[in-house]
Amino acid sequence: MQLFLQEQAFDPWALAGQFSSALNGAGAMVTFSGIVRDDGGLTQLEIEHYPNMSRPAIMAIMQEAQARFHLLDAMVIHRYGILAAGEVIMMVATAALHRREAFEAAEYLMDYLKSRAPFWKKEYRAEGTFWVDAKDSDEAALKRW
């Protein structure tokens, strides 16, 4: 399993290709990429994180996902710092024998990263800066697991 936390931009598809090439015996691979959504008014997105905690918190989520969904491998990349609209914020990749496990593990990882990994997003707009509120729907999504 691999976890990258970094400020600099990354090529998600080069990393997905490396992840894919290293697989052995997998039948299914899922990737999720989160993109800074360009809604017309956003000039940039700042992502703050808690460095001492983000790595162990995400590693714990990944280990839980691996055990629960019998993953052959998993990868998470998450950026922090300043991002422009259209840039990839983060990517999750999962590999398993069958599609159901690969899909569920990716959704599980995303649901936990959204609400349990110590990251906070701040939007920069012409009108000012705004911390993104946590959504009730994201907290509710955890109940599925």
Binding site: E48, Y50, N52, M53, L113, S115, P118, A134
Partner: protein, 82 residues
């Protein structure tokens, strides 16, 4: 001596990201009561604890969690990762 960390709007409202606090608090709630008394900024940041999450030594905990043996306590809003 405990290291107290603040993130996101708590950091901005309090005006600093980290402080060293001499405390006899045995729970997070007791520590919060002590922090509130530092100044109006602290008091404002902790005015509604429903909007605040806390981690002790990098583990998410409830406000009634113990501080015995704790070295680092972090306060922040609900997380918005992913």
């Amino acid at each position: 001596m405990i290291t107290v960390l603040y993130f996101a709007w708590l950091r901005e409202r309090i005006g600093l990201g980290r402080e060293q606090v001499e405390t006899r608090a045995t729970t997070v709630t007791e520590l919060v009561d002590q922090l509130r008394k530092i100044d109006d900024y602290h008091a404002a940041a902790f005015s509604d604890l429903r909007a605040v999450r806390v981690a002790v030594d990098q583990n998410l905990v409830d406000f009634d969690a113990t501080l015995v043996g704790a070295r680092e306590v972090a306060f922040f809003p609900p997380m918005t990762g992913g």
